[in-house]
């Protein structure tokens, strides 16, 4: 139900939140020896988890209409990739704070945009309900 109201933005918000968490973790571990910075492949995370039937989705097959509909939940951890550092560090840490900060800021702006889309959708529906 909610999926049909907010469309792709609901899923986008989830992926962006998970990505923000990942980037915050990278920044928190900026001084941890041997820590490898990671990021979420946004495109893949969106593609795989989207409600597109037949292509990539991993829904369960139903042989009878009365079977309960199953949905294989994809976890965003399936799309984690390791960051390739531009300059190697002596302690094996691959966090480059400036890059992670830029990515975090980018992700925050995109999340803000997603929230804006959802917000305007709510405003639109409310307007329709009131008959304005």
């Amino acid at each position: 139900m909610a999926e049909s109201i907010f469309g792709i933005h609901e899923r986008a918000l989830q992926v962006r939140t998970a990505r923000g968490e990942m980037l915050a973790n990278n920044l928190a571990n900026a001084d941890t020896p041997n820590f490898k910075a990671r990021d979420i492949d946004f495109r893949q995370a969106m593609n795989e988890a989207g409600p597109v039937k037949g292509s990539h989705s991993s829904d369960m097959n139903r042989t009878n209409a009365r079977h309960i509909e199953g949905f294989a939940q994809m976890s965003t951890s399936d799309f984690l990739k390791f960051r390739q550092p531009t300059q190697p560090a002596l302690d094996g840490n691959t966090v480059e704070t400036h890059i992670e900060k830029a990515k975090f800021m980018e992700n925050a702006m995109q999340q803000e945009a997603t929230l804006e889309f959802i917000n305007s959708r709510i405003t639109g529906i409310r307007g329709a309900l009131r008959g304005e």
Partner: protein
């Protein structure tokens, strides 16, 4: 998985950097503490950071913590100073193996990392507030 996790993660970062700043302060404060034998002399302390792994999946999404605080095993500074009240039988005093320049650089690194974590928390807070106010 929720937005509030980011605040937890950044909080662990803040805590780890605070401990690091504390050890640095301790090292700097003890830079001139002299003693007459090797055992009693202050040794520079360094925290070791470790990623907190996320339970079952062994994934690093839980932040950072201090694994342990180790004492620097570099040789102490030995100084011949027979008139010093703390001098031993041979006229030597022992000074801590604290490297002031290194500590200063460490301190700046720690405070920058602290600031970064604060920034992350601030940004997340704004996003959370925006989420709470959806539809208003």
């Amino acid at each position: 998985m929720s937005m509030f996790n980011i605040l937890d993660i950044s909080a662990t970062g803040l805590h780890a950097q605070t401990v690091r700043l504390n050890t640095i302060a301790s090292n700097m404060a003890n830079v001139d503490s002299v003693s007459s034998n090797k055992e009693d002399t202050y040794r520079s302390k360094q925290p070791i950071f470790q990623t907190i792994l996320n339970g079952a999946k062994n994934e690093p999404t839980g932040g950072v913590r201090i694994k342990e605080i180790v004492e620097n095993q570099e040789p102490l500074k030995m100084e011949y100073s027979p008139n010093h009240p703390m001098a031993n039988g041979d006229g030597y005093i022992f000074k801590p193996n604290v490297n002031i320049v290194e500590e200063m650089a460490n301190m700046m690194s720690a405070s920058r990392s602290y600031e970064t974590n604060i920034e992350v928390m601030n940004t997340s807070k704004q996003l959370l507030l925006r989420t709470i106010q959806l539809g208003k």
